[in-house]
């Protein structure tokens, strides 16, 4: 990029911020680095400056590079690091038009981070913590060997999404007190009726109550965990007898990384849709103001079409998200929502309905601040949009030599429900630590709460292997579901072998 080009880009950048602010977007400062393509691939794979080393990142790096080499330039790659100031990256060889698109898109993301409530508690130190950890871990590799470090990191990665930032964090005594008080209250509220005075004198009742309380306290104190615990990594770090301090260090860092990732997972469609919606809107304004030329225009259109391309095998969050945002604004501007509108039976009347309420922007900001993907989809992905977006469901069908992926004949409303359901708990299975001293022999009992979907058995087995490595003793995973109980067990036979019993 030449000097005059950079000057031009800076002008465009400044105008983008102004347009965004004029439209009511709030965002923290953004720092852009202009980097060569290899660095871009690395940032995309690692997700954050100073990320720790692991083969999975290497694999993704290689994959991105291969795709880029095959597809060639023009791919609108963007990475935003959600810190304050936010960090974002521009590829050195991109055209001005593409850089403008990416800057506008990034502004949309940063506004989203800044305004959405699920991102309010972001750990803004995560980048520097990772960077320091990365250096420590390299030391661990030299000292304890790459295999052991890698095994620990892989196990941490397997569990990192079972620790989201909205879970209560408390130490054991706090937890004990909270649950003790809760259970005490529950018990005595039930028995303390207005009539209890007639049957027993006060002192006797007090003694009984005290006795019961003591017994409860002792019982709770010996329980581990005191109540089923969703934060599997937290429990393992605090209670495993086989982890060294350096391993706990690794797991703590990965747990923090998991918590950083969670809000992004929970709002992916909203976020990508919002950024796409805004880059389109901002670019339109830039063309109007002649800050971008006609050539820039066609380049932007090409890149934008790549962003919003329909994927026959998966849902495109950029496309689906932005179309939903557009639809929200349109419907709330015209008032084509709610009971009054839905009760209109006349087709003609329905199509031409417009109460000129112009509440679109207001609604958009309300949804932006308070929703996550599940709410976004449940409330705003209408059957109408399912049809408009050409969404379909496909299944795998076995043929003699091949597997075919065939489109099913699901109706829009049914498909809508399937899609919405897939967003519950962001698609991550609900699994709890139930007992850390199962069978009175330090075995770890995990419970999978079955809510509509089975666990993938291959993945469940391998993940349990990871847990077993961290826990050191036999690990049992039970699926609780009416009628059917799947059980996976991982235990060490010798130092090397881990075997499995399925469906015990």
């Amino acid at each position: 990029m030449r000097n005059y080009e950079l000057d031009r880009l800076k002008k465009i950048e400044a105008r983008i911020y102004e347009i965004a602010k004029e439209n009511g977007l709030e965002f923290c400062p953004i720092e852009f680095d202009i980097i060569p393509e290899e660095k871009m691939f690395e940032i995309m794979a690692y997700g954050m400056p100073g990320q720790i080393s692991n083969w999975k990142y290497g694999r993704d790096y290689e994959r991105t590079r291969t795709i880029y080499e095959k597809m060639g330039a023009g791919l609108p790659y963007e990475v935003v690091v959600n810190t304050n100031p936010a960090r974002a990256y521009l590829m050195k060889d991109n055209t001005i038009a593409l850089q403008a698109l990416i800057i506008a898109h990034v502004v949309g993301h940063v506004a989203f981070f800044t305004m959405n409530k699920y991102h309010a508690e972001n750990d803004s130190n995560i980048a520097s913590r990772l960077s320091a950890a990365s250096e420590r871990f390299e030391g661990y590799e030299r000292k304890y060997g790459i295999d052991l470090v890698e095994q620990t990191v892989d196990a941490g990665h397997a569990l990192m999404l079972h620790s989201n930032p909205w879970l209560i964090e408390e130490n054991k005594s706090e937890q004990l007190d909270r649950i003790f008080e809760k259970m005490k209250k529950k018990k005595h509220d039930k028995t303390d009726t207005v009539f209890s005075d007639f049957f027993e004198d006060d002192s006797q009742a007090d003694i009984e109550r005290e006795k019961w309380n003591n017994a409860l306290y002792m019982k709770l104190r010996n329980k581990t965990p005191i109540e089923p615990m969703e934060d599997i990594l937290r429990y393992i770090i605090d209670n495993s007898r086989v982890l060294s301090d350096w391993q706990k260090d690794i797991l703590e860092i990965i747990r923090s990384w998991g918590q950083y990732v969670w809000p992004n997972i929970k709002t992916k469609y909203m976020n990508e849709g919002f950024a796409t919606f805004w880059h389109e809107k901002i670019l339109k304004q830039l063309f109007k103001e002649k800050l971008l030329t006609d050539t820039d225009h066609s380049e932007c259109n090409y890149s934008n079409s790549l962003v919003k391309a329909k994927n026959p095998f998966a849902m495109n969050p950029y496309l689906i998200g932005s179309v939903i945002w557009e639809d929200i604004i349109k419907r709330w501007n015209k008032g084509t929502h709610g009971d009054t509108f839905n009760e209109i039976m006349n087709h003609e009347e329905k199509i031409n309905f417009d109460d000129k309420s112009m509440k679109g922007n207001e609604k958009m900001f309300k949804v932006l601040r308070t929703s996550n993907d599940w709410m976004f989809m449940n409330n705003f992905l209408t059957a109408e949009l399912v049809r408009k977006l050409d969404l379909y469901m496909y299944v795998k069908k076995d043929n003699v030599f091949v597997e075919d992926l065939v489109i099913t004949d699901k109706e829009a409303e049914e498909l809508r429900q399937i899609i919405v359901r897939s967003f519950s708990h962001s698609g991550i299975p609900k699994i709890f630590v139930r007992d850390g001293n199962y069978n009175n022999s330090n075995e770890l009992l995990l419970i999978h709460e079955h809510v509509g979907a089975d666990l993938n058995p291959e993945y469940a087995k391998k993940t349990l292997e990871h847990i077993q490595f961290l826990w050191g003793e036999k690990c049992i995973l039970k699926t609780i579901k009416l009628g059917v109980k799947d059980t996976y067990v991982a235990y060490k036979e010798s130092k090397k072998d881990i075997s499995f019993d399925l469906n015990l």
Partner: protein, 461 residues
Amino acid sequence: MMEGKIHMNLLAGLASIGTIVYHDDWNIKKGEKDAKRHQDKIDDAIRKNVKDVIGSENIITEKGKKKIRVPVKGLKDYRFIHGGTGQGGGGVGQGEGKPGDIIGRKPKQGQGNGPGLGSGGDMEAEVDIDYLLDIMFEDLGLPWLDPKKQNSIEIPKGWKFESISKKGPFSRIHKKRTMREAAKRSILFAQEVMSKTECTYEEAGQALLQSLGDIKNAIEIIEEGKLEKSDSGNGFLIHDDDLRFKTIEEDVEVCSKAVVFALMDVSGSMTPDKKYLMKSLLFWMVSWLRKQYESVEIRFIQHTETAREVDEETFFYGGESGGTVASSAFDKANYIIDTEYPLDEWNIYTIYCSDGEDFYPTQAISSIEEMIKKKINMLSYVEIKPDNDFDNGMTYNYGYSTLLPECLKHWKFQESNLSKDGKFYINNDIRFLLSVIKDKSHIWNCLQHMLGINHPERSES
């Protein structure tokens, strides 16, 4: 006011433009290092899953390829995900499809019920076939290879230093030998000068140094008193003629000539599943032979009711159907042996693949008998039985096979306990091997049975 700044990184030429901050916290080497680690893990996984890799479908379907894509197991981001058996493989997509439209198709993968698209299928890696052959066939060799009148098979064993020559690249100069030659010549030359001029040995040496090794010149120098005073004294010159080089040669083990007959049943009863197993087995066999024994000859014969010799391309990629008369293939091979491969010059191997559903098994037995009588090195019959359940080995059902029971009736075999995956029999006296394979993962065991160097039940002669 919030002001965004564009920071330049690595573009040093632009460093003079105003507000530039360097962020250099991306260590590009991390990507390379981790990518290398990933590659190592892939190699390791392939090594550990030889059996699966061998059965990989596209090895046969992608013809003429040097590189193949093979499934790599165990290299996924394992975590708890949804998608039990029967639920995997589907998803939600977008586009202009109608119900019933096929939007994707891929060859079936191994037995496992790995998740399909949406939850990340088995990983695939691109691997060089030669590399696979190297790691998978470490312990195979042609068994019962006999010395014959003419030797021609060369088995490469690497490189070795063979002899000393006067010409060669300086990288392979033999210093000791060169110096020895130079010293020898210097002494001879000095003696020559001394005898002509009656000077001392030191004077002769100095004169030779001054004349750059020319004897006539050296004599003149002494006679004309042009000898320069020097302390260097005993140095000597290295003549071009003194240079000695090491030569290296490919180290080969020379063996007898060998020919391998690959016989294959392509009749109507050979279902695509069977053909796939058979071709897979023969493909690996042939690729390995070509790599290991450069000059081994391979003849390809396929048969239905009649047999015909075909080229490799037709053998692997052509198709045919019809009745089954196995004897025709053996007769064809016998005829080629009689006319082209005298037994005192050639090691002869025959491998026959079929589902054993033969119309005239007794006729086949007599043709096989005729081949055995020639005392060929090894005869191997591989029966392909993908449809039969022989996991409960006791009640093994031969299906419609007529050939295997007939063989077992006609000759005495010892059942090999090489592996429980597949059934293997051996008769050491007539060097006749039987294999029954059902599954892709049996291919590896079958190759071990036929060609394994450490076969426990084979008596080497």
